[in-house]
Subunit: 416 residues, 2 copies
């Protein structure tokens, strides 16, 4: 089956916002095994939207629309879809009472506009919205489907995951099926290197293996389709196992929702370790990523940002001679920063980052993108040299990912 | 004139990447006074792309395509556009020598594939690519234009700004014109409040005034169109002045490229001030934003991340009694953090952030999203209370913007 994404909103046409809904829906549809050949953005204009809907119905089996279900005059996705399908709008009692409840719960006043959101095309399937006032809608026309979703991602995403994905799977002409996927997340290896090691697995058809490159990480999504979840899981399991075997310690998780910082914090907690950071060019961003993890306070107590040489000396006791002889961006300074942070904070694990993020400050000997890091784990120290590419923001982002990866690797080195 | 954006790439259809090109191009086209009614994404498929091109030529004056100009077999945007326009491809000597030079300069080996990138449709205008190997191309067909741009943003953006925007302006049927725009950037005021103060200006047609909401900021873009830049500037100037008058100190810049952290660092440099941060729930992100600014080392030396109570006491000397009596998230603690950071770092200006980012840790009295900040400027201290909405990431992002805004406000308070 083919699906087509249609995002409705003048703010998209004006470039006021980036179309993250399209990317998210596209990824979900691909995981569901649906082929998507077209994505369209169109404004809140009935005539143009109707044209796009008619074209879409000619060339695709399922149209998924997002946006334009709001309470204002501008919002006319529902009205236009109903018109294209030759349906009238009628008030849906259940939706109305849910909208009334939504406002009551929040102590807000419901306006007449909001009542409009309870109007649904005759014969449409109404999909409850647990996070907003506009219900989702599914219309059928000559064996094709038009699915209308609210635009705000915090409404669209849970509605799609809980209601629309199962619905789409139920349409499978080979009988109802489920999709099950797991993501093998790899840190510290490059994209091309990872891809070279999985060419055989990329040729599989069920489960499929698809790589997604992230900063400092590669995610391999393993997706299977089967009549029942148990069966789909059974197909995914051996491939995940094989990937774990091939990539060994570079795999930091096989769970979709776990991030690299989650994995590092989990590892610290597992071994009862506390952690501290000492950062120069990343200026607090490595600590900032650790603090993404709710409950990090059990392990992360203190961080140092030592941007100047003086701060490196004063806060974490880097020696004046070290700075003079080797410079602030050197393996020696990185090492003393990590050791000094351990001493000053009392943490079991520390990581230091010192480098040249650019655009200025580079030299032939120490070019922009050169970053040294050190990691201290219970008395042991490792120092690593990195040469990153890209602008200031990229160098810093890559450094943060590398710092987390280094920390993880060193803890595993000590604790196995 | 109407423009239509067509982004080519299977990775967009699969949701592997977010379509930031479309948003960027849409914003540029809007600023150029071009109306855009459709954006389409299509894969690297000749038949479907040809269909999209034909539909586009029927309904729009100008088609702007991005992507699919690479050296591989997959890349067929140029070939398909040439075919739709009934043109042959011929080797462009200038492009070939530029591609050869590109590889020579970088000490890389040029492959036969890359030679393909020097093929251009007969009669096409060739646009130099200063940051890659694929030249841009402009094709004319029956008074309509097809503009082909490379997909990588670091190639597309400079090419559009330097070459395509002036070309588009030269097409104006009322004679060549230029666009000039300035952005009045406002911090510390909400979007609805700002909009309420500019309803009269939003009704203007030349210049136009368009609001863009950012985290903790609202940007008002003032854009004029005229035969000459001087004239366009003359139209923009009084409106920018009027906006500055209305929003006073809340305007931190009227320059398009200046960020809030740039403005804060500039203000610090102007008054010869050094700065330090002390962060709890933001965990280094406020320092991280300051360190976005190249050359920040003149003013930013030291930052503290005091996530635990112990770190608050040890690093910046918050009193045990203060923490016990008022708690870590309190105006008193925020105040002592800012004062303590000033003492420990010797900085002239410090900002502290302590709050509950969630999802846990909230209470009836101190709910998730409650954040206290204090700012120290040369002996003076201000404390502020914020109640932010959203998840952990949103609360922290909003806190960082508010911390920069607070710092700026306090420095202005002291130094005028």
């Amino acid at each position: 089956m083919t699906v087509e994404l249609i995002c409705v909103g003048t703010e998209l046409l004006l470039g006021n916002i980036v179309n993250t809904n399209a990317a998210w829906l596209a990824e979900q549809c691909a995981a569901l095994g649906l082929s998507c050949y077209y994505q369209t953005v169109v404004g809140d204009n009935a005539q143009r939207l109707a044209g796009i809907l008619r074209t879409g119905l000619e060339r695709s089996d399922i149209l998924i629309l997002s946006g334009g279900l709001g309470p204002t005059q501008d919002d006319l996705t529902k009205e236009t879809a109903a018109q294209v399908c030759g349906r009238k709008l009628t008030e849906d009692a259940r939706s109305l009472s849910r909208i009334e409840e939504y406002f009551r719960e929040r102590g807000l006043k419901m306006t007449d506009n909001n009542r409009k959101q309870a109007l649904v095309p005759e014969g449409a399937l109404v999909v409850d919205n647990d996070n907003g006032t506009a219900p989702g809608l599914i219309l059928e026309k000559d064996g094709k489907r038009i699915i209308l979703l609210p635009g705000p991602p915090n409404e669209l995403i849970p509605m799609f995951e809980k209601k629309i994905a199962p619905y789409l799977l139920s349409l499978d002409p080979d009988g109802p099926s489920v999709i099950y996927s797991r993501t093998v997340k790899i840190c510290g290896l490059g994209e091309s290197g990872v891809e070279a090691m999985i060419t055989d697995l990329e040729a599989l058809s069920n489960p499929t293996v698809a790589p997604y490159a992230k900063t400092g990480e590669v995610h391999l999504r393993v997706t299977a389709r089967a009549a029942e979840e148990k069966e789909a899981k059974k197909l995914v399991k051996p491939v995940v196992k094989e990937l774990e075997r091939r990539f060994g310690r570079s795999v930091y998780t096989t769970k979709n929702e776990v991030t690299l910082e989650d994995a590092v914090v989990k590892l610290l907690k597992k071994h009862g370790l506390t952690v501290s950071t000492v950062e120069s060019c990343t200026g607090g961003l490595a600590a900032g990523r650790l603090v993404n993890v709710p409950g990090v306070s059990d392990v992360f107590k203190t961080g140092f940002i030592t941007y100047s040489n003086k701060a490196k000396r004063k806060l974490v006791g880097v020696k004046k001679e070290t700075l003079e002889r080797y410079g602030a961006v050197s393996p020696e300074t990185a090492r003393e920063m990590a050791l000094g942070a351990a001493k000053a904070s009392g943490a079991d694990v520390t990581v230091s980052v010192t480098g040249i993020a650019g655009p200025d400050g580079g030299s032939e000997e120490k070019p922009v993108g050169l970053v040294y890091m050190a990691c201290f784990v219970c008395g042991n120290v490792w120092v690593e040299r990195f040469q990153f590419k890209g602008n200031r923001a990229k160098v810093r982002e890559a450094s943060v990912a590398a710092a987390l990866t280094l920390m993880r690797g060193c803890i595993l080195e000590v604790f196995g």
